[in-house]
Assembly symmetry: C2
């Protein structure tokens, strides 16, 4: 199997690639655990070749278009941030990276930065680009739940502003490593408890460090179920975020890009605030974003 070009999403913990045909079809999808986090700069090219070397034809350079943390300062090569407001980065904005293997023609897409409030993203801008490519007339807010949840205002095919919340990372640290680890289940859920906790997080955000300790106390004193504790922890943190993100969602349409496990609770919380919400698939948006960026790269290089 020979690819016409290769699309790659190179994050902190994973590398995911799609071998693409000339007509835009996906010939194959592959992934590895060679994330940016464990690679020195000179280890990126070998990691890429391990995953796609067999699909590279001899005597021809195959374009590889990469989004994500591979373009960070600690990555393969630094693709400097573009400042919002701007259109999502396209292939013409990508950084060309020299390789040892003559069959590779590597380009890394930049991330986005914002001056005030200071903020950055790497990777999510490509998902947003994919969403804009599929919904060119969209005027509203894109919400991308995850370790670092992003809220981006999109208008006239540009990313106007954005804001990052560390909610997912806080959830993981508190559930897995704080004193609450004894009281919070690894999986399981309680919809009603989540809904109440969302309201509490919205209405009393300052008290969250105390409300969290109450989960521990209720588990000691009242045998609070670990599944309920998990839903309440999630609800408190997402509720705080929903409350603070109100300037983003109020009076706007919201598109959530994310896996069901992450996007579901955000949708439930927003719907409870009477916000019109649509869900879209994160991996599909990444691929669409890389496809859209590649069209520019191809035009530029022709």
């Amino acid at each position: 199997m020979t690819a016409d070009w290769i699309a790659a999403d190179w994050g902190t913990s994973h590398l995911r690639v799609w071998l693409m045909a000339a007509d835009g079809a996906v010939l194959d999808r592959r992934s590895s655990a060679d994330g940016m986090g464990k690679l020195a700069p000179d280890e990126f090219e070998p990691a890429l070749l391990r995953l796609v070397g067999d699909a590279l034809p001899d005597g021809r350079r195959i374009p590889v278009l990469i989004c994500g943390m591979a373009g960070s300062k600690q990555g393969w090569s630094e693709a400097p941030y573009m400042a919002v407001p701007c259109a999502a980065p396209n292939g013409g904005d990508a950084l060309a990276v020299a390789t040892t293997d003559p069959r590779l023609d590597v380009h890394i897409l930049p991330g986005l930065k914002q001056t005030r409030p200071a903020d950055v993203m790497r990777g999510e801008e490509t998902q947003i680009a994919g969403f804009i490519a599929l919904n060119p007339g969209f005027d509203g807010v894109v919400c991308l739940p995850g370790t670092h949840c992003k809220w981006a205002h999109v208008s006239a095919r540009e990313i106007v502003s954005f804001r990052t919340f560390m909610t997912g990372e806080l959830f993981a640290l508190i559930a897995g490593q704080s004193v609450l680890r004894h009281s919070v289940a690894i999986c399981g859920w309680d919809d009603d408890a989540f809904a109440s906790a969302i309201e509490e997080g919205i209405s009393r955000p300052a008290a969250v460090a105390a409300t969290l300790f109450s989960l521990r106390a209720e588990s000691l004193l009242d045998d609070l179920s670990p599944e309920t504790a998990r839903a309440r922890l999630s609800g408190l943190l997402i509720g705080m975020e929903i409350g603070a993100a109100k300037p983003y969602w109020l009076g706007r349409e919201v598109a959530i890009i994310g896996d069901d496990a992450l996007a579901g609770p955000y949708r439930q919380a927003l719907v409870a605030q009477a916000v019109p919400v649509t869900l879209t698939d994160a991996e599909r948006m990444t691929l669409e974003g890389l496809r859209a960026a590649y069209r520019h790269l191809k035009e530029t290089s022709q």
Copy 2:
């Protein structure tokens, strides 16, 4: 050296004892890393003997009065919580624990619980007891900064209500293990940045998960100093807590019990809100609390 009785503060990570003379003087202070967290129930007595065995006379039982996590469900033996409002637990409330060594006469003080909002403490009640013993007419709020900061309303020598904030634990997790670990110094400080962050934490608590990520972004984009980032992280979290604890401190005198490193920032934050604050030493309050509780134990057993 032979002790008349032994006072012990047995926490999660440390055991600290004072060998006491009959007149209440401290003959010796000793400590070990044999905290509750690493001991099975049958390992407590050997751990105690390693630390004080040489100070036990033959042919006589020496009272050992213990406060802290040794009395928890995972500890030596469970001393059930007393419910507030109540006076701080005294020696008469302590749980007698059987020992193999005939020279030991061990008693563990209970912690406190509160039904609504659900809350618990183990160890801090003894510091509060020490403070009340030294300030019997105090009517106000005792604040005990730490991993789990406690605010307790004290009136007429009773603990009326209390609230625990996980602020210290959140600080440690975020500074040491989140993405901010790259941007936050292990030590160092910036007083002005702390003061501004306190105000921001009080006025915009819901946004804290976003404001925290801004510290990371400012470190990437604007070379924010790690010492300033540390002070801002601390200020944001303590500011949230000060805001939520307003029903405790508003219009009341506040006594902070804690080491300088912990108590200083809380004092600065409260003084900025025009709250009258006094500082007292945590270890001294623990010892005074154990002394006060022992007086009851002695009277009861005579």
